[in-house]
């Protein structure tokens, strides 16, 4: 079997896809967050399925080395996903603050009743 960046990509994205689905099944990853990962694996799979797509894209973007397109894609996607995750974390932070306050106030109410 010819080992090149395309075959490695296909192998990697296939395994990644399986891992993601397993994580969701085992409830370690929520479906809403798995969507973007699944999308990424699917696109990576398609991109690496035939050099034709990568070659065309490389031409459009004036990139000398076509496999670099795969890396570019991966990199950009990771950046976007990180941004997404940080917005999720921000919202959760807000909720945790609010919950903490509610609990403290509830405890105070309880102690008052004694």
């Amino acid at each position: 079997m010819f080992i090149n960046v395309y075959t490695i990509s296909i192998l990697f994205s296939s395994i990644f896809l399986i891992v993601i689905i397993e994580l969701v099944r085992k409830k370690k990853l929520q479906e809403r967050y798995s969507l973007l990962w699944i999308l990424m694996s699917a696109v990576l799979l398609i991109l690496s399925s035939t050099p034709a797509i990568i070659n065309t894209l490389a031409e459009w973007l004036n990139i000398k080395n076509p496999p670099s397109v795969l890396f570019l894609f991966g990199l950009v996607y990771l950046l976007v996903y990180n941004l997404h995750i940080t917005t999720v974390v921000s919202k959760q932070s807000e909720k945790i603050t609010r919950l903490t306050q509610e609990i403290a106030l509830l405890k105070q109410k309880q102690e008052d009743k004694r």
Binding site: I21, V24, R25, E31, R32, L35, I38, K95, E102
Partner: protein, 232 residues
């Protein structure tokens, strides 16, 4: 049989009073719990004034989180039967007793009040109907059953399902999602025809763009639900 009627409500001040009085009229022996899902209008006050128990969530969780709160309450307070009635007035309380009957007698675990089992006068927007058809097709494919109305929130469940929902209840489009999961765990689900009305005031939280996003999300969830392994 101890019956709890769970009304999830998000900014439903226009209809919540009427919903509560309607329920009290038709099934006075049941207890009502309004789950105020972080409303910023006077839903909570109106509900309390209408004379029901109210749970105020610190912030909006969505229909999944809100209903699950109701199921947790039902479990902790030892209810035998839990009914979901939407706070927007679409569900006709006259049907509640009909929906409860099969569950109370033990012939099924869940009853869905369905808009489409027999011909009814219910009409809804085209985009909504497309979504409904899409979901019921997918669910029927995955369960081998022939559900007609998979998105109806007008449902009744018994204690076994209360216990399951208190622990596992999906956050997005839970009504559709649980059908596959319940089927996997061999819970019995039947549909009974009901008449529903248009929403009585307030705004629906479903928009067309969100619909597509949700459709993809829920389809994925349904597919994964169909392949997950069930542990005790």
């Amino acid at each position: 049989m101890k019956v709890l009627i769970i009304i999830p409500a998000y900014n439903e001040e226009a209809s919540i009073g009427m919903v509560v009085t309607g329920i009290k009229l038709h099934i006075p022996e049941a207890e009502i719990l309004v789950v105020n899902d972080g409303s910023f209008d006077s839903t909570s006050e109106i509900a309390a004034e209408a004379g029901t128990a109210v749970v105020n969530l610190p912030f909006n969780l969505g229909i999944g989180g809100a209903m699950q709160t109701g199921y947790i309450y039902a479990l902790e307070n030892n209810y035998d039967i839990a009914v979901q009635v939407d706070g927007d007035g679409q569900h006709n309380p006259a049907y509640i007793k009909d929906l409860i009957a099969p569950v109370a007698e033990g012939s099924t675990d869940m009853v869905i009040g369905s808009r489409y089992v027999s011909r009814t006068d219910y009409k809804s927007a085209l985009s909504r109907r497309t979504g409904m058809v899409f979901f019921s097709t997918l669910v029927n494919l995955l369960t081998g059953k022939r559900f007609k109305d998979t998105t109806s929130g007008f449902r009744v469940v018994n204690k076994r399902i209360i216990r399951y929902f208190a622990d596992h209840y999906p956050t997005d489009y839970p009504e559709v999602d649980v059908l596959v999961k319940l089927h996997k765990r061999n819970f019995r689900v039947i549909e009974i025809p009901v008449e529903m009305q248009e929403r009585q005031g307030g705004k629906s939280s479903i928009t067309p763009v969100r619909s597509i996003y949700y459709m993809i999300k829920v389809s994925l969830s349904l597919l994964i639900g169909a392949i997950e392994t069930v542990d005790s």
